[in-house]
Amino acid sequence: MYPDKFEYFAPDNIEGLEELLDKYKDDSKILAGGHSLIPLLKLRLTSIPYIIDISNIKALSFVDYNNALEIGPMVRTGEVASNKIIGDKCKLLADAASKIADPQVRNMGTVGGDICEADPRNDLPAVMLALNAEFEVTNSMGKRTVKAEDFFKDAYTTALESNDILTRIVIKNTENYYGKYYKYTTLSSDFAVFAIAINMSLNDNKTVKDIGIGLTNLNSTAVKPVEVENYLKNKKIDDRVAGEAFNLLLKSCDIEDDVNGTEKNKEKILKNIFINGLKEIYEVL
């Protein structure tokens, strides 16, 4: 119920943060909203000697739009769900953020934390994959850009090194796109049993111009089924095309029997959600 002892730092600028990360490396962990980290500390499933709270760094908290949507990692997910710019420019992200946990958790949890924790059940990794987002990563040696599809390596494992900081999320696929986050839960928990993020744009002739898909909790980490995306491009979506796309989608999934249900039952539900989702988005566009 109560965390083990740790030392706490709350730098108010990126340089200060870089220094601390260089100093403490793997013995340290960044605390953003804390809604993944603090429960782990409380249950004593982990013990971390140096906790670095980044909430005082103002440069990590912004939402801008200049040809691309740019979001700071410390923006709370509740803010993501209700922010007007995000709502206008990126329906998928706003929709997914509104479906994370509950209002209190969204008031603390951050977009960067959800991405960097890379819990396979977290919602935003799949959304980032569907949006083809790019992450600006900073450390004391400089900055680099990592594409979302290169970012998520495995459960709780990302391309970030121990001294790296996610400093900016860039989303270019906004104009003319529409998307939605289809999240399936149990009756009582707000974690995804699985979820599908879809972001789509159409050509004038009603064929798919571009589509991004991300899958939550259908594999050891969030997955981008590129084969499905490629298959759907330049096609009109009907039952046959959607059904064929689903068959391809299954290749990216690792579905097993578990406490939530049998493989067969889950596959059936997933198929329904995916096909209805594709059609719904297609029709809105």
Partner: protein, 158 residues
């Protein structure tokens, strides 16, 4: 470490361990025992308080994170909070009373952040608060009643 936390309008400077949770700060350091602990996984919402006007689960916030921030708890004497409390009494929006402070604080947040919270909105925004006694019906009625009263007062003052 030293923290300076404003609770219900009063500044508290305390030397605490960094690992101290905000809920422990309130309950053990300040003796404000109205904020309750019902779980250890951020599910139940019995520990809900407002931080800078936003509802948070104080069992999953370090007191250190609240340093230099404003916390509002069930013990606050905010007049709008009183209206909500009275509505819970009138609608019998509680039985054992244990989840009640968290429910009321979340209601406070709902009413501060929505002009027109309908029943669906209220239910969705109470998802982070568990009650085992009431089946939520009287709680939802209490929120609706509080909303009517708050709106009524705004109209009167206009």
């Amino acid at each position: 470490m030293m923290v300076n936390i404003n609770v219900n309008g009063r500044e508290y400077k305390k030397d605490i361990e960094p690992r101290m949770l905000l809920v422990s700060f309130l309950r053990d350091e300040l003796n404000l025992t109205g904020t309750h602990i019902g779980c250890d996984t951020s599910n139940c919402g019995a520990c809900t308080v407002l931080m800078d006007g936003k509802s948070v689960k104080s069992c999953t916030v370090l007191a250190a994170q609240a340093n230099n921030h404003e916390i509002t708890t069930i013990e606050s004497s905010d007049p709008k909070l009183d209206v909500i409390k009275q509505s819970f009494v009138e609608e019998n929006g509680l039985q054992c009373g244990f989840c009640t402070p968290g429910m009321i604080m979340q209601t406070f947040y709902i009413l501060e952040n929505s002009e027109d919270a309908d029943e669906e909105y209220i239910k969705k925004n109470l998802r982070g608060n568990l009650c085992r006694c009431t089946g939520y019906k009287s709680i939802i009625d209490s929120v609706k009643k509080a909303e009517e009263k708050v709106k009524g007062e705004i109209n009167v003052s206009k």
